[in-house]
């Protein structure tokens, strides 16, 4: 082949350390100021964020362990992405609506979704199963990028209702290649939809690094569609909170969509089925470990003397309690009745489904009648 199709310098190696990175808390736990984004939190608010981070990490670790024990079929860990999710999640108001991928456990936490609800689909007892309207948190979407269009459409509805809600739709660096996501950008732009595109650039789409998906830093794509894009330190919960708040406020003021690229890192495997040792180096992992989102807030709290020993002890106990609740909850989560697969296929009855359900029931009843050796 005459032309090398795999030129290694896809865009200048992007460490995320450029001046565009919005940061309010350094990896060392120093508060820094930013000209456009600021945040002023009470001690309790700092501790609240810390609590969220610690608890979702605990929940996540518990789920990973449960998968190893065979209690879950699969788990997609959020390890390393806690700040991006808690920061953006805590920026939301009750009226706002979230369109998540399959990894937004921290956002779900902020919305008040019971963690056990998230585990049903990973255990294999349902495909989601919660009422999205209860917490304004849509079902997880596995098909990459599809939910971004739903988010834009929902925002178009909000716009017509004239309500004060806005929408945040989450997606990954890999998803940014999908047609759906680019169509979502277009629709959001031309209709000036009150939607925030929150992309967690965790550097990997399974085994493919960001260089496989883009030639310019991700946040810059927004400009081409006609709305602002920013890059925030995704391991800095304060910056994620401040930037998402600002983007939501903008959307509420009728100023249209905004893209937030949260520059972060997927510390775990893509899912429990994945083996990242095949495609990425330990050195990279170690480098990111130094930027841990929880450690940096912890060191800030310590330096500022925020949080009593009782607070940290109580959090430890709460974390244990959560772990226990999740373990027990999963282990006692019943398998669905097989016949339930015929439920909710349609809103109204459907003769084919009804007939197949009846045949299914008759067939299974024949086993009971025939006893052990009937077939």
């Amino acid at each position: 082949m005459a032309v090398d199709s795999t030129d290694g310098t896809l865009f200048p190696p992007d460490s995320g350390a450029g001046p565009e990175l919005i940061q309010l808390l350094t990896p060392e736990g120093e508060r820094v100021e930013h000209p456009d984004y600021s945040i002023d939190l009470s001690d309790d608010e700092y501790l609240g964020l810390y609590r969220d981070l610690v608890l979702v990490r605990r929940f996540d670790a518990e789920a990973t362990a449960l998968q190893r024990q065979g209690e879950l079929g699969l788990w997609a860990s959020l390890l390393g992405q806690e700040a991006a999710q808690i920061g953006s999640g805590r920026a939301l108001s009750p009226n706002d609506y979230v369109f998540p991928t399959y990894r937004e456990h921290g956002v779900a936490w902020c919305r008040g979704v019971d963690p056990l609800n998230l585990l049903g689909m990973f255990r294999g007892v349902n495909h989601g199963g919660w009422d999205p309207r209860e917490n304004n948190f849509q079902l997880y979407t596995i098909v990459i990028g599809a939910q971004t269009l739903h988010g834009v459409g929902y925002a178009m509805g909000v716009q017509r209702d004239g309500s004060d809600g806005a929408v945040v739709t989450y997606f990954g660096d890999g998803a940014s290649s999908q047609g759906d996501v680019n169509e979502a950008f277009t629709f959001a732009a031309v209709f000036n939809a009150p939607v925030v595109f929150f992309c967690q650039n965790n550097q990997w789409a399974i085994s493919e690094p960001t260089e496989r998906q883009m030639k310019v830093p991700l946040y810059r794509r927004a400009a081409g569609f006609g709305f602002p894009g920013v890059r925030v330190d995704g391991n800095d919960v304060l910056a994620c909170l401040a930037v998402t708040r600002a983007a939501l406020a903008r959307a509420r003021r009728g100023e249209g969509p905004m893209l937030i690229e949260a520059f972060t890192y997927r510390m775990g495997a893509h899912t429990t089925s994945d083996d990242p040792t095949r495609y990425r180096s330990n050195a990279e992992l170690e480098e990111w470990r130094l930027k841990d989102p929880i450690e940096r807030l912890k060191s800030y709290l310590h330096k500022q003397g925020i949080g009593t020993p009782e607070f940290f002890a109580a959090l430890e106990a709460e974390s244990e309690e959560l772990g226990k609740r999740v373990r027990n909850g999963v282990r006692t989560m019943p398998d669905p009745d097989p016949v339930s697969m015929f439920a909710h296929v349609y809103a109204d009855s459907h003769t084919l489904v009804d007939r197949e359900r009846a045949e299914f029931e008759a067939y299974h009843a024949s086993f009971v009648d025939a006893g052990e050796d009937g077939h």
Partner: protein, 333 residues
């Protein structure tokens, strides 16, 4: 196919290894062959079907693509127009749909639209079917959508030997081929003789002869039907199991021949029965064998429901019992 002899050209392979070896053969024998898909390079694909191929053939020929299925198939069409023979990997059955438009409106029709000037020798490999305890969109059987589209050929291998040969034959085909790999049989092993003479790609095969009832299946259900046949044999009933192998074209002649002897036909697939491959087999065989049939053609398939959560998938998937139940009902008609 002649049984593999214990020669130097024969070795034990899983279906994954057989596909990998077949792909390797095609890459070696035709410099125009290239493979594209998500995570197929360093990772070797989520099922490791392309393991080691990028290392040996380079990143120009084994291409990790951006995460966009429409993009993958659309650019594969362009590459084919430029003289290449792209082999596309779709990571899971449920993720082919972003590419569905390119497949149905472009890939399937371009040969006809160009009055035959343009050929699009593209293979789209799709791991399909359930039974591996996966989350949603990872267990689907979309074959009818493709078989319903003129211009696409659709095949499915059920064992490592076929996997090895059929992938090479599909790549050599000048028509687009949807190549369905039964993911739950990926780890099944068999002796593969790489020097044997393969059966034609578009023919079916009698995988177990018998006179009592014809049982037709393909892909993942062939093994299930063979188990059922073994169980039936213990009760003195010999089932004739036919592996269709190709769904478009569909080898009705072989099924007709068998049914004219047995008088009974059961068609088995994981995909929903409603408007599935089984419905087509039933209709055509009824037309051709009306006076030979001693019972209506019966279908065993998935239900008209979304593929269920994995904890109940065993209740959705046709199994030995459901196949034998259908055979019993046919024979008792």
């Amino acid at each position: 196919m002649a049984p593999a002899e214990s020669t130097g050209t024969s070795r034990q392979m899983s279906m994954v290894q057989a596909l990998n070896t077949g792909l390797r053969k095609s890459l070696e024998s035709d410099p125009k062959v290239l493979i594209m898909g998500e995570d197929i390079g360093k990772l070797g694909g989520v099922f490791r079907v392309t393991d080691g191929l990028q290392k040996d053939f380079g990143e120009d020929r084994v291409v990790d693509t951006p995460l966009a299925e429409s993009g993958i198939v659309g650019t594969a069409i362009g590459l084919a127009l430029a003289g290449y023979r792209p082999v596309v990997e779709i990571q899971f059955d449920g993720f082919v749909f972003p590419a569905y438009d390119q497949i149905v409106t472009q890939l399937a029709k371009m040969h006809a639209r160009s009055l035959g000037y343009v050929k699009l020798p593209i293979v789209i490999r799709i791991p399909f079917g359930g039974g591996i305890g996966a989350v949603e969109h990872h267990s689907e059987s979309p074959e009818a959508y493709f078989a319903h589209t003129a211009g696409l050929r659709v095949v499915s291998c059920s064992n490592p030997v076929d996997a090895y040969w059929m992938i090479q034959q599909a790549i050599a085909s000048d028509d687009p081929v949807i190549f369905l790999e039964p993911k739950r049989r990926y780890w099944t092993k068999a002796e593969v003789d790489t020097a044997a003479t393969p059966d034609p790609l578009y023919g079916s095969r009698v995988v177990r002869p018998g006179g009592a009832c014809t049982v037709v299946a393909y892909g993942p259900m062939v093994a299930t039907c063979l188990e059922a046949a073994a169980a039936a044999a213990e009760e003195g009933r010999e089932l004739e199991v036919i592996d269709l192998r190709s769904l478009s074209p569909l080898d009705f002649d072989a099924v007709e021949k068998s049914v004219k002897r047995t008088g009974h036909l059961v068609v088995v697939h994981e995909a929903p029965s409603f408007l599935g491959i089984g419905a087509e087999v039933a209709a055509t065989i009824t037309e051709r064998c009306f006076y030979h049939l001693e019972a209506p053609v019966l279908r065993v398939g998935g239900y008209h429901t979304p593929y269920p959560p994995s904890r109940v998938e065993e209740d959705y998937l046709p199994d030995l019992d459901r196949v034998l139940d259908a055979v019993d009902r046919s024979l008792a008609w």
